[in-house]
Every structure is written in C-alpha cells, then in structure tokens.
Amino acid sequence: MSDLDELYQEVILDHNKSPRNYRVMSDANRKAEGYNPLCGDHVTVYLHLEDGVIRDASFQGSGCAISKASASMMTAELKGKSEAAAHQLFENVHKMLTGDGDGENGDEKVGKLKILSGVCKFPARVKCASLAWHTVNAALQGENKQATTE
C-alpha cells in the first residue's frame, strides 16, 4: 500500500463522509474548543461525564478529512471509558501519530485507532489528526477550556 493509500483508507474516508457523533450535546458537562492556528481548523468537543466515566462524546467543527475522521473515531472510542483510560488513550494515540511509539502491541494500545497510524509519514498532517485529541484532553481538565495544536 502506498503512503497515500495508507493515509486515506476507506475507513477514514467513510468517517470523513459520515462523521459519527457529529452534533452539539445539550447536556454536556465538559466542553472544549480546539484551534489549529496554522491552518484555521476548528473543533468543539462535548463530553458527558458521570462518576468519572465518559457516558457520551460528540464533536462539531470544520477541518480536513484527517481531522474529521480522527475526531469521529475518537468520540466513538471514548464512550464508556474512564477519565484515566481516556487520558492513557490520548497519550498512546499521540505517540502513534508522532511516530514515538515502540511499534509493539500497537493494536492493543490504541484499538481501532491504529488506522490513523499512516499519518506519521506526513509530518505536516500530524496536527490535523491530533487536534481533537488535544481538545478532549483540555475538556477533561475542566469546563470550557481552549486547546491549540501549538
């Protein structure tokens, strides 16, 4: 598979075309906005937390296929996870995207998100994929935080 085919896999294109959990959440108790000042991409992440567990996750915003697919898959993956597990997932995904991972047991550490690993071959696009993750990290730290990729 070429680098480009690896980046734009069917699953990613599908999440881009029909993003999951793409909605404003009226009963969110955690929310954060994320900006990529370099390109103007913008995402808002909503979480509903109960007893330290993410019961619901959604997002809205504008960005490229990579950022949209990443946010879409992220919200699907976060539902039902504890705050601690969500934070660990953020760390693991970040390592995968920046190519810092140990390359072993990758599937177990990031689950379905492994499909985003092709991004690390496109340094200019790493921030597209990580924007939603930085944003959810800010949301977990408190209400109405802002995150940037810088």
Binding site: D3, L7, Y8, G40, D41, C64, A65, I66, R125
Partner: protein, 420 residues
Amino acid sequence: MKAVSHLAESRAPSGTFDVMRLREDFPILQLKVHGKPLVYLDNGATSQKPQAVIDALNRYYSLENSNIHRGVHCLSEQATTAYEAARGKIREFINAGLDKEIIFVRGTTEAINLVAQCYGRSFLKAGDEIIVSAMEHHSNIVPWQILCEQTGAKLRVIPINHDGELVMEEFRRLLNDRTKFVSITHVSNALGTIVPVKEIVALSHERGVPVMLDGAQAVPHLRVDVQDLGCDFYAFSGHKLFGPTGVGVLYGRAELLEKMPPYQGGGDMISLVTFEKTHYNVLPYKFEAGTPHIAGGIGLGTAIDYLLTLNWHQLAAHEHKLLSYATDALSSIDGLRIIGTAKEKAGVVSFVLDHVHAHDVGTILDQEGVAVRAGHHCAMPVMQRFGVPATTRASFAFYNTIEEIDVLVRAIHRVRKVFG
C-alpha cells in the same frame, strides 16, 4: 479574465522568452519530489532563487564577508560598497527618487510595523481612522490593530465584492475628515486581485491622507514605479522577488521619513551617543539599527540585476497565458470553484473543491510533485468573506509552464478519485 498588462516601459533587451532556458537558471526546478518532477506553484509564499543569487551569497561569505559602515579595512569597504550599491539598484527598480528613501528591513511585515509604529504613533490620536481593505494579509491588519490599541484610533475596512474586487464606492464613503492613514495591498495574496492603487492614492491625497502600499505580491509580477503611483510608503519582501529570505524593503517619501522617530535604537542609527542625549543618524540609517542582513541585501540587488535581464513585456505575456490557461483548465473540473475572479489579476488561482478540504488536496498534490499552498493564506477575513475555511492556491512565477498546469489538473483529478 483580462490580462495583466501593466508591465510597460521595460528597460530590458528584447528577445524571445524561452521559458525552458530560463528554468535552467533555477537549480531547484530540476528537483524531483516523491519521485516526480517538482512542479512549484507556491510562488506566492516564496519564489525560487536563480543561480546568480545563490552565487552572490556564496561569493559574499567566501570572499567579502565583513561588517559595513564601520571598518577602515579593505573588506569592510568592499562590503559597504556592495550593500549600498544594492540599495541603489532597488531605488532604480521601483523608481524611487532618492537612495535614502530605501530602508532595508527584514521583510514586508517589518516594513508595515515600522510605519505603523513610527508614523502612526507620532501622528495618529484617539478618534482618528485608518483604512485597510477586506483582502489584506494579516501583516497589513494586525500592526494597525496594535496601533489602534495604543492610540485609540479606529480601523475601517473597505469591503470586497463577490469577485474579490474592492468596492470603490465604499472606499469613497469611508474616506472622511477623521481618516488619517490608508494602507492597502497592491496585489492580493489570497485572490490575486490587482487593486487600483493609483486611484486610491489620488483619492486619499485629495484629503491629504498618506497611503502605504503592501507590494509583496506585486513586485514579482508588475513593474512598480512608486513615483508614478504617488504612494507615500511601499513595502516588499526580497524572498518573493527571487532574492534571499530575511531582507525586504520599505520605500518612504523622504519628507515623511525625516519627520518620523527611529524604529529601533542601537548601532548604526546614531551619529552621537552620550548619556545625556543621543543624536540620530541621517536617512536611511536612522531606521537601520544593528548589523543588517548584508548578504541578503547584496543578494536582493543581484536578483534585481537578474530580473532586469528579462524582457518584462514577454514575461507579462507569459504569466498572463499561464493564468488564463489555468483558470480555464481548473474551471472545467467538476465541483471546483475558483475564489477570486477579479477582472485584473496577477499570478494566483485560489480554489475550493466540493467535499474535499484544502489540506487533503494539498497532500495529494504533493504526492504528484505539485507544491501549492493550502490553508487560509494569512488572510482569514478573506476566507470568512467567501464562507470557506481554507482554499488551495496555485501561484505562478515566470518560470512556470503550461505543462506544469496540466500536471496540476491531472493531480486534482487524482484527488477526486481518492475521495470518490
């Protein structure tokens, strides 16, 4: 779409415009990217450098390196002579009246900040108005916003129409007794629009309002004559004019520059320093504190020497051919919309593709060896005006070819294929 034919009065020799021969002057154009020949269509961001400029930098550091305006030794005198000769070439290139009206700066951004701070803070006060346009680069917005915060002056914005042209009636309406400064781009970096700056200068001067022009995107395409335009300040960057990065030019009318305080304090900008009082140096040195980018200044002079060997009539005709060919070819792609369809345009085709974000377009084009800019082009208000988050921008230089535009078009079809 009409041609850019402002490039009159070429001082260059006549002859045929052989683009393939000219491309040999630019070593980087022989490169391959991802195994494909480089198709460099990001000239609006920065242009490539001819061998002559690369050689000038090499020669300076190998044989001439020394500080200027200081040493009594041979090398320092040579470096000073070469640097000041570059100033003279720049003056001639934009037809300024005096060498001392040419201030070396880091680039267009610094030139605009210099004028905002040195002119603006001295002569503007609360309630005064500064006019810019809705198609400015951030570097011609933010320095004025900073000045407004400092002085209480207000920023007024000339709107643009759906083609990306200034609405001149609105400009006439905005000009009033409170207007104390006008700063406008000559050519839009995001849209390619050529702005009727001569008319803007004339209307502003009727009211005694000084005008600054951001020429960063104009000088690579149009022969600029600052005296003919009548502007008070004109700014451009060396690196977009086939010269080195880190050096640029502020032209200012001597009468205004004389009245302005220095921008930064330091060496070279003084004539006498005591702890009681410091006397500033004369123009242009008053605005050139510290050791400048000597190699850069000399390199920019060399870029201008190179440009003057070209026939600018033919260069303009070639660039017009590229623009109209690209406009036609891109327009015929399904779901592609060109942003910026002004009657008078220079060297830029900005576009959006249905259901595909500019970043994804940029990444796929890059895999085909095609370098374009994808994003907001440091002109977020322009993106807002057209209701798009970002565009893909192909920006041309005289060394681009029709065949390269064909490669661009094929690469866009590949984007379509990937995204189904």
